[in-house]
Amino acid sequence: MIVIQGMSFRYKQNRPVLDSLSLQMEPGGVYGVLGANGVGKTTLLHLLGGLLFPKSGTVTVDGHTPQHRQPDFLEQVFYVPVDFELPNISVEAYQKRYAPFYPNFSTTSWAHALQTFDLQPSMKLQALSFGQKKKVLLSFAIASGCRVLLFDEPTDGLDIPSKDSFRRLLSARIDDQRLALIATHHVHDVAMLLDHLIVLKEHSLLLQAPIADLAGSVRTLVSTHLPPENTLLYSERVPGGYHCLVRNTDEQEGALDLELLFKALQIHPDIAQNIQRYEKHV
């Protein structure tokens, strides 16, 4: 559904933001994009939405070239940015204004999402808090019926119950025809949603793997003692012991803390190659 081949992008300062990036994403999945600040997560979403144009390489989304911004492409892609501006109208008027542009917009899903987020259609957007505005936008994205949903820090500004509501709403909406891409630093908020992980480092791809495969090859554990060196990939001290990333040699069902994995990858990027080797081995 999304195919990126050798894509590079740089802003005017000539500093590369994304360099020869190649990725492939299939429908039916929720992809999480992790990366340090300035590594190009938001830029990647903008490139996929046709809001920026690649300097080299190609991007296709559902067979379309995003930078052409053709209506049939835009009808199938909804982007929830981290910084947004909503007009000074009611929630209901917002839906009436923009929903006609999305042929698969579901008023039932919209009403359900608003109800889940405890929002009233008569509420004025300008009178809402940032978190409430975000919930309106998330509700619209989920109800839009778009095949590709792009989220930049979707849980930013949401309270704890709303984060849970967002996870439930999105997971109910993603079927084998749709794809969601979530760029975030708050990986704990969306960890349960993700089934694929993409890690960017130094403006290029460090790791792309299904979460299930990752969990089959590595796992995280909290231990009072450090595990044997031949299984330990990364550890950090926590109160009462160590938080460790280890090889899942015995294929145990165990938790995989994506934040710890991300930290490990930032410090020891070679772990990514090891993980992929373990995957093949498993």
Binding site: F53, Y79, R97
Partner: protein, 256 residues
């Protein structure tokens, strides 16, 4: 880029464009109405109003130029910040549909609103002035050369303001310079019209001749008039048309 056009979607875009149009020109238009009344009443009270008074036309022209160009400059206000630009660029419609919808409002709908608003004000003034001052302005002859000239300058400057509004974020200095040049040019024309120096009845029917700068006079020879026409063509018509066309490409190529 393949640019599809779908009439149903275009109507939706027009509706959206109408709903999201800039409010400031309307506020200025509304605030101009009391000023027009004030000017008319002072003029009517003066007792020295000439039989052929240009005040209605001048006020109409000033109102239309000021509000119309401002409206054109703000037409793409969504592109002014990242948040609203995101939303505008991702509205599922082609660039052509978005551009046509904006252009429709800028070039036809808003000028029509100004014209209607001005006429209402003019008629209301007429009701009072006859009763209070036994005075009534002669109605503006909308087919006159003066009106055509005012409209000509209005539409000549409109693409400049339109394009300047699109490139505002990227070429702020350029916009400033273009605006100053246009305003300076218009100011000279306004002064010329106001001072009655503008020659309108030179016997030449062509619009090109009618808008020739006043200092050439009506007795310019054919060679001079030819040069004047070439000057206008290169200095005004072609740049104006190019600026209008450029607005389409600015939206098409606009990124965040």
């Amino acid at each position: 880029m393949k640019n599809t056009f779908d009439f149903r979607r275009f109507v939706q875009v027009c509706r959206l464009t109408w709903q999201t149009q800039p409010v400031l020109p309307y506020i200025i238009l509304l605030s101009a109405i009391p000023l027009i009344f004030l000017f008319f009443f002072d003029d009517a009270r003066g007792g020295f109003v000439s039989l052929r008074n240009e005040a209605p036309l001048v006020l109409f022209a000033v109102c239309m130029w000021g509000c119309g160009w401002l409206y054109a400059g703000l037409a793409f206000h969504e592109l002014g910040n990242t948040g609203s630009a995101n939303r505008y660029l991702m509205v599922p419609a082609s660039t052509l549909e978005k551009w046509l919808a904006k252009s429709l409002l800028v070039f036809f709908v808003f000028p029509l609103i100004i014209w209607v608003a001005y006429n209402i004000v003019f008629q209301i003034f007429g009701l009072f002035s006859v009763r209070w001052f036994a005075f009534e302005y002669a109605p503006v002859n909308w087919y006159s050369l003066e009106v055509k000239t005012a409209l000509f300058f209005f539409y000549l400057g409109l693409p400049v303001a339109y394009a300047a509004g699109v490139v505002w974020k990227r070429f702020g200095v350029l916009k400033g310079l273009v605006f100053i040049c246009v305003l300076f040019f218009v100011l000279i024309q306004v002064i010329s019209i106001g001072a009655g120096q503008y020659f309108l009845n030179s016997g030449r029917g062509m619009l090109l001749s009618e808008v020739s700068p006043p200092f050439y006079g009506s007795d310019a020879d054919a060679g001079t008039l030819g040069l004047i026409n070439i000057f206008w063509l290169l200095a005004a018509y072609v740049p104006s048309a190019l600026l209008l066309a450029s607005t389409y490409f600015f939206i098409k190529e606009r990124t965040l």
